[in-house]
Amino acid sequence: MLEFVSNNISTINFILINIALGLSIYITLATGLLSLSNAGFMAIGAYTVAIISTQSNIPFIVGLMAAIALGVALALPIGMLVLGLRDIYLAIATLGFGEIVRIIALNGDKVVHLFSQNKELIIFNGAEGITLTYRTPTIMLGLPDTTWPILIYVIVIVYILATLHNSRFGRILASIRQDETAASTLGVNVVHYKLLAFVLGSAIAAGAGALSAPIVRVIDPHNYVFSRGVDILAYAVLGGMTHWVGPILGATVLTSLPEALRFLKDQRDIVNGLIIMLSIIYLPAGLADPRIWGLFKRLVSFPKRERVS
């Protein structure tokens, strides 16, 4: 077991990061919002940590907090501006936000030079991106100290989302997804709760981006293009958009599959595209569909029944 973990630690790291990202888009999808800005918020988180650790000696945990805080601070005004828009328009506007983040990361230094005396100052480093210095992780209780924060982060998020799911907040978000007009006539302040979901999702994505920085080490704008956002969307769509278990399943399957089946790695985009299309068409409730679990249980219990009879 321990050997398996240490041999595959990088895959495990990415599975955990991708679970967090899948959960970040899930919370908005569960509210009926197609927000495509998650890759952008992930970039914000990663750049925040990368810039802080290259420009100063502030510890990582503070950088993580700053990344999440920045995610919230940006998501609030953006959410207030765009969440009134209907589905397609919202998707396009949030897609636009992600692109703007990328363009800023690419050209950030030009903007910095406009305001700073020091024309040699390099912060974003354009298309090259920021490279973090490599540090050999120390092993604590069987896991590297880079993995622990991610694991704890995922556990905290799952706790938050599971608690919300079973509370009136989860019910209200589900009611908005299904019929926001009917929800509003029950006294639900629709915009308020959409904002809650959007900010929560953005903060989760920013945190995941921050945690991914020490693992990917090279933070460049190309990591956060639209196709990254589509990867994230695929986790939630395959897993299911109505229960928090969905994105966990989706992210695990889609991250480990290319590792297990080498030939799939070269065709990752085709496989992602196929999975998105096939699951939205033929498996709209995702892998977390209760009917699939019922079928699974029946299949598993089938031999037992035979033995009894």
Partner: protein, 259 residues
């Protein structure tokens, strides 16, 4: 104006609604006294649903004003109007199909549920007791409607008549002073309709005011204290059922249409 009712619960004042160039409602005024059941009838396309939508804040008014308990509610957002105590059902049932019957009804109760986001996340006592109270209240409502056994069924799996009743329970969970019902008996058989009638009459005992759109004339005439008749966006009659029944305009409107 009905002189013996000093302060009506709902006042519709000179309300008009224009869609494009088409007048869906024109200068409609009437009052619904507190504790009354008011029937809103008229041929298809008379503007009944448009009016109810305006009361619950789903459509803007082109002219006029709507007052609840003496306070202006037209122009408020739908959730604000719901907070003031207006519950409603829809002509084409709008339950949350993915959720269970119980969850649908609890949603109606959520405004009275305590516990902030932080309290919920930390699972503090207030949020847990709030959840428990809502559950108890919702189960009680379902019990009154004789639907306890369906509490954990997915709403979309219910029969048509049951869905209508769950929608009413959900609106009642809000604890409204005014209940708006848009064709609650549509698709029900006569036994179900009788049961619904009885139930609505029992609600009046608890001083709830009801504004109801219905095509089942029998039901309207049997239940209502007051009937308002719309035709082509205009109010053509108003009064007690017996009066309205014999009003020549009303007979003409109905004979002229499909009924």
């Amino acid at each position: 104006m009905i002189p013996e009712q000093p302060k009506p619960l709902l006042e519709i004042r000179n309300v008009a609604r224009v869609f494009g160039g088409l007048k869906a409602l024109e200068n409609v005024s009437f009052n619904v006294p507190r504790g009354a059941i008011c029937g809103l009838i008229g041929p298809n396309g008379a503007g009944k649903t448009t009016l109810i939508n305006m009361v619950s804040g789903l459509g803007p008014l082109s002219e006029g004003a709507i007052l609840l308990d003496g306070q202006l509610i037209s122009g408020l957002a739908p959730h604000k109007i719901a907070e003031r105590g207006v519950g409603r059902t829809f002509q084409n049932i709008r339950l949350f199909g993915d959720l269970s019957v119980l969850e649908n009804v609890i949603l109606g109760h959520h405004l009275r549920q305590r516990g902030t986001l932080i309290e919920t996340l930390l699972r503090l006592p207030r949020s847990r007791s709030g959840e428990r109270d809502s559950r108890t209240a919702a189960l009680k409502l379902l019990a009154i409607l004789g639907m306890e056994h369906l509490a954990n069924v997915q709403a979309r799996a219910l029969s048509y008549g049951d869905q209508r009743r769950v929608e009413i329970a959900r609106a009642l969970a809000l604890g409204p002073s005014l209940l708006l019902l848009d064709e609650p008996a549509a698709g029900m058989n006569s036994t179900e309709t009788d049961g619904l009638c009885e139930f609505l009459l029992s609600l009046r005992e608890s001083s709830l005011t009801i504004l109801i759109i219905e095509h089942d004339m029998d039901m309207i005439m049997r239940m209502s204290d007051l009937v308002v008749v719309l035709n082509f966006g205009l109010k053509i009659a108003e009064g007690p059922p017996d009066f309205v029944r014999n009003e020549p305009h009303v007979i003409e409107a109905y004979l002229g249409s499909e009924q």
